[in-house]
Amino acid sequence: MTTASVTQPPRPVAGDLAMSGVLRSEWTKFRSLRSTWWLVIGTVILTVGVGVVVIVLEISTGAPKEQPPYQVAQQTETAAVITQLVLGVLGILMFTGEYGSGMIRISMSVVPRRVMLLWAKLSVLSVIVLPLTLGSALLAFLAGNLAWQSHRGLVPVGFGDPQVTRIVFGSGLVVAVTALCGFGIGAIIRSTAGSIGTLVGIFFVVPIVAQVALPRNVAGLARFLPSNAGDAMWGGAIGPRSLSSWSGFALLCGYAVVLISVGAWRLRRGDA
């Protein structure tokens, strides 16, 4: 009689998994790492700090140019160049941190439906990063604009001015999607060093080399690089030609989708 319980097929483990539970566990892992908060705080300080410093430097040169409002908005968001790296690393560490410490074995034993793990990580990352980048971009604009107004004779810049809204929130969106690209790269490569090297290569080094070394007849290809596609959204794209704002942003999102899909495919099909 007692053997009856043995013959009963074991209940599939995955049956107990609820998305909310996996989400909660990922949130716990995410928030309990000190590096998470360093990167988050670093992002806010960099975004606002660099924006204000750029404006102050511009004013302190003596005769700030009568710039169109959209250029002032771009200057307040200059930090997006570097917060892309900061949050890209945060995205990378979502997976590579676990592979580095061996935690991934536990995570996958507990959540054998691997793609579910990926969605949970992605959700936690997005829910933190998106408000973070949009909020700090807004703060940077408001603080930079205050510095701008403080100088006598300069006209304050507002959201009503052409392109300003798109530049301020666009820069935040681009940084957030870069973090998602980092997430995809980390899920594919699984090594922290390899992933950071790849992200930096794609986003920072290849555009520089493309700018100086590409033959003139193919130099236009540089605008399809992820970094230049994203920069088209808020300005500052390197290279002679750039995509239009929203198509550039759409292309960047496309890259993120492809990277994350490949990561999901590798997680599902390959060894863990």
Partner: protein, 269 residues
């Protein structure tokens, strides 16, 4: 009795057995037995030479000055710089990450000796590889150029060509050592890599966008642009003279090595 005998005498200091060659050999073993080393070195060579052969010829004017031509063949070293920086940072952070550093410091308790051993082994590899790849890039780039009719020949005797070709290799090697020293200070792979890539690739871009035109002269003192001066590739409006730029890059690297040595010697491991 037999057991007591060794305990009675004062123990021989462990460090007495250490020789520089032994430490160098162990560091070389560690370096060559990690697969990522070979991946990154191969990537560095392929990128340097590949850009010289396949990309640069199209971007070079039909009758370039010899030094312009030489510089254009070396642009790939910007890409391999990333590979070597990663490798350099990981010489120390890899050990801290895996815990191997405890074994290393137990075996080589004179900590500075460990630093010199790593610097020696990695520095030699980086220097040999950088020089070989920069020379190969120029030579193969030149051969690719020769294949096209009507292009002028450029060779080592031409003005400044030798400085640019060898200089690109030297800068590559010194930046790799810069990465090693930074890794020894920061000790964490993710943080070390973010910092070094920010210093070499993001800050020049950020400052170029952010600084008003009148303050852009400051850009020439960044490590990347100081090194770039040696092979005419400083991506800044003004540039230092070649050798003073290279000297500044070496100075930055020496300062970082000093900080790393101090931290290793005086701090917790």
């Amino acid at each position: 009795m037999a057991a007591a005998a060794p305990a009675a005498g004062p123990r021989m200091p462990v460090a007495g057995n250490l020789t520089v060659t032994g430490v160098l050999r162990s560091e070389w073993t560690k370096l060559r037995s990690v697969r990522s080393t070979w991946w990154l070195l191969a990537t560095a060579v392929i990128l340097t030479v590949g850009v010289a052969v396949f990309v640069s010829p199209g971007a070079t004017p039909v009758k370039p000055a010899p030094y312009t031509f030489a510089r254009n063949t070396e642009y790939g070293s910007l890409l391999s710089q990333l590979a070597l920086l990663v490798l350099g940072v990981m010489v120390f952070t890899g050990e801290y990450q895996s815990g191997l550093i405890r074994a290393s410091l137990s075996v080589v308790p004179r900590r500075l000796l460990l630093l010199w051993g790593k610097l020696g082994a990695f520095g030699a590899v980086a220097l040999a590889l950088s020089l070989a790849s920069s020379v190969a890039a120029f030579v193969l780039g030149e051969l690719a150029q020769r294949a096209r009719p009507g292009r002028p020949h450029v060779w080592f005797g031409d003005p400044q060509v030798t400085r640019i070709v060898i200089g690109a290799g030297l800068v590559l090697a010194v930046s790799a050592i810069f990465g090693l020293a930074l890794g020894a200070i920061i000790r964490n792979t993710a943080a070390g890599l973010s910092t070094i890539t920010a210093v070499f690739f993001v800050l020049p871009l950020l400052f170029r966008i952010a600084l008003p035109a009148s303050d852009q002269g400051f850009l020439r003192f960044l490590p990347s642009n100081a090194g770039g001066a040696l092979w005419d590739a400083a991506l800044s409006p003004t540039s230092m003279t070649p050798w003073s730029g290279f000297a500044l890059l070496c100075g930055y690297t020496a300062a970082l090595i000093a900080v790393a040595a101090w931290r290793l010697q005086h701090g917790d491991a």
